[in-house]
């Protein structure tokens, strides 16, 4: 066995960094990832599942209470017609964006380190979008009228109003959910086949066999599959940029000071990726420690994620500053007031929480020591999650509670139902997540294998992608890393 590399985070421009440590082979990688699904359910999983299932129960009780009683159980009232509901919606839908960034955009950019985290992040996307979809569905308190949003012929002989960004949102978020789910499932097919082939029980083999659809890893299947994966990545990339842009149109297209800004689409997209990466880190760091996956999710992976959090955090910080500049530069007194009120008004505490968490905390990642310490990474990631929730709260609530006419001003104070609904949505998210980690391949085995030396990309006669024509020697002239002699 070749000398084992312990630190793969060091930069050496002349060499491709090793992405899988620990001298793993295809055999050991398969075993490591599959055993998460195949071994006896650990006690820690049951405890975590019990807690999150309890929170999910709380979530649906709160939604039931809302539907039975009416929207008055929430703290919102005119002028603040939106508060926790839409804040939670934008927060959750934003979380999802990092998953698509990792799975699609980093794929197009040939960022091979994504293979270790993409399945995980895509799963996170699906569950975050499910949580997000709950809020617009129930935010009127009358979910039985939700079919008004869908262009179906109905007894009112009316059609939805397509000139409103709120309807664009319906199309954007539901398309996002469908395409992300397809991308996630298609990506999982080869790994589901691995689980099918390793299954011992009859039921297990049948269920994974059904899900694997008949995958045999054949050259012809891989040929179609790879093209579809590339096409889906190409489609998901503009989609993810459009989804949060459309979400930002809900605000930017209105006339309200603090909302009516052209910077919103790019600012929202950067913020979504920022918050989503923070959520990936929040979940991945503990799971990596519990499942002992340090060889697959290496220090280099965490460091790369920290760098993206730093970069997107700076973009968000720039957007915060630019909003203030534009408010001043526009000369519009309402716009100026809206921003001074954000920083110094009654919700200043929320604004400064947002600034501390989103702009100041990630600055730690300038330091290599901070990027290499899982605990620091996790703490900053949690702070960024908090900050990104407050960002949406600040945008929505400060703008609504202090609009044009001082006589209509009012404060928004959340009720216990608001707070428990928010807490409960995390329960739904975590429940789905725990089920995913337990029953589905949460790390993309086939993709991780394809970036390992055993995949035969960086040895022999130095062939690269697509350079296999002519005579191919099938005798090895030398051994390579991780291969048994």
């Amino acid at each position: 066995m070749a000398t084992e590399i312990l630190d793969n985070a060091a930069e050496d421009p002349g060499r491709r960094a090793t992405l899988v440590l620990g001298g793993h082979t295809f055999t050991t990688i398969t075993d490591k990832v599959c055993r998460v699904v195949e071994d006896r359910t650990p006690r820690a999983w049951w405890i975590a599942f019990g807690v999150s299932l309890g929170l999910t129960g709380l979530f649906f009780s709160m939604l039931g209470y809302l539907v039975v009683t009416g929207i008055g159980v929430w703290g919102l009232n005119i002028p603040a017609g939106w508060a926790f509901d839409i804040t939670n919606f934008v927060f959750w839908v934003g979380i999802g964006h990092a998953g698509t960034l990792i799975s699609a955009i980093l794929f197009l950019f040939r960022q091979k380190w994504r293979t270790a985290i993409n399945r995980f992040a895509e799963g996170m996307t699906i569950f975050a979008v499910i949580c997000a979809l709950v809020f617009p569905t129930i935010h009127t308190g009358r979910p039985w009228f939700d079919y008004w949003l869908v262009p179906i012929p109905n007894q009112m002989k009316m059609w939805p109003q397509f000139r409103s960004p709120l309807l664009w949102d319906v199309f954007a978020v539901s398309t996002y959910f469908v395409v992300s789910a397809l991308f996630w499932f298609v990506g999982m097919i080869p790994d589901l086949a691995t689980l099918r082939d390793r299954a011992t029980g009859k039921w297990r083999r049948m269920i994974y066999g059904l899900l694997a659809l008949g995958w045999r890893g054949s050259g012809r299947q891989w040929h179609h599959y790879e093209r579809v994966y590339l096409l889906l990545a190409g489609l998901a990339t503009p989609l993810v940029l459009s989804v949060h842009s459309v979400v930002s149109f809900d605000f930017a297209v209105s006339q309200l000071p603090g909302w009516h800004t052209t910077i919103f689409p790019p600012y929202f997209v950067a913020g979504a990726i920022f918050g989503g990466f923070a959520m990936v880190m929040t979940l991945l760091i503990p799971i990596r420690a519990v499942l002992k996956l340090h060889d697959i999710v290496t220090a280099r992976h965490l460091e790369n994620m920290a760098k993206i959090v730093l970069a997107t955090g700076m973009m968000v910080g720039y957007a915060y500053a630019m909003e203030f500049f534009m408010a001043w530069y526009s000369g519009n007194p309402y716009e100026r007031f809206a921003f001074v009120n954000r920083a110094l008004g009654p919700y200043a505490w929320a604004y400064w929480t947002m600034i501390s968490c989103n702009v100041i905390a990630p600055q730690l990642f300038w330091f290599e020591k901070a990027r290499r310490n899982p605990l620091t990474l996790w703490v900053v990631a949690v702070l960024v999650n908090v900050g990104m929730w407050f960002e949406r709260f600040v945008i929505i609530v400060t703008s609504l509670t202090r609009d044009f006419l001082p006589s209509s001003w009012a404060m928004f104070v959340p009720t216990w139902v608001d707070l428990l609904t928010l807490a409960g949505s995390f329960g739904l998210f975590l429940t789905l997540f725990l089920l995913f980690v337990r029953f589905l391949p949460s790390f993309a085995m086939a993709e991780v294998k394809s970036v390992m030396p055993e995949a035969g990309l960086e040895h022999g006669s130095h062939r690269g992608h697509g350079q296999y024509w002519g005579e191919i020697p099938h005798q090895h002239d030398h051994q390579f890393e991780g291969e048994k002699p």
Partner: protein, 191 residues
């Protein structure tokens, strides 16, 4: 057992116990690639390479023609764009025109977001639908899946399967070809 009807999800069930083909096992990527070229050059049509990873260069080594799936994606995308524009025009300008905030009944700029989303949605469905059609999914069973060694094709081994239905197939000569191409084991697969 011969079923009196044809199952929808199991295409062309072969006669149980009949010879389906040969399965050759290889140690690594290089060996299977070199062997694939030999099988291709021997003129076989109904054969395949099985690997746990997509092998770069396999398409050339096997002589696979480019997939038609991108055409399905294009068709889906164009249909989505047409549906998006048509839907918004038909509902808001034709069937139920009403004035709101002085906006025109139908305008291209406001129609873009929904049109864009439907374009992506139908193109993605076209891609995945195309994959299902191209691969014949969902497929509930296949003779290879009953082979005990084949289970490692999704983990850490490489295989070449040659179907008995191929016109060039001859049990002895094809076994010899595969063994000569560097297979560590060649075995018969029965349906």
């Amino acid at each position: 057992m011969k079923l009196p009807w044809k199952l929808p999800l199991v295409p062309e069930l072969p006669e149980p116990g009949s010879l389906w083909g040969l399965l050759a096992e290889f140690d690594d990527v290089d060996a299977v690639l070199a062997a694939a070229q030999k099988v291709r050059d021997a003129g076989f049509e109904r054969w395949d390479v099985h690997a746990p990873i997509p092998i770069h260069g396999l398409d050339e080594a096997m002589g696979i023609r480019p997939t038609w799936i991108p055409v399905g994606v294009l068709v889906g995308g164009v249909a989505g764009a047409a549906a998006g524009l048509g839907l918004q025009w038909a509902t808001n300008a034709l069937d139920y025109p009403f004035l709101i905030s002085g906006k025109p009944f139908f305008g291209l700029p406001v129609a873009i977001p929904v049109t864009f989303e439907l374009t992506i949605l139908l193109a993605a469905l076209g891609a995945v639908g195309g994959l299902f059609v191209a691969c014949g999914w969902p497929q509930l069973h296949h003779p290879l899946l009953a082979n005990e060694h084949f289970a490692r094709a999704s983990a850490d081994r490489y295989f070449i399967s040659v179907e008995a239905a191929d016109s060039h197939f001859d049990p002895t000569r094809t076994t010899w070809l595969l063994e000569n191409a560097g297979a560590r084991r060649v075995e018969e697969v029965r349906a």
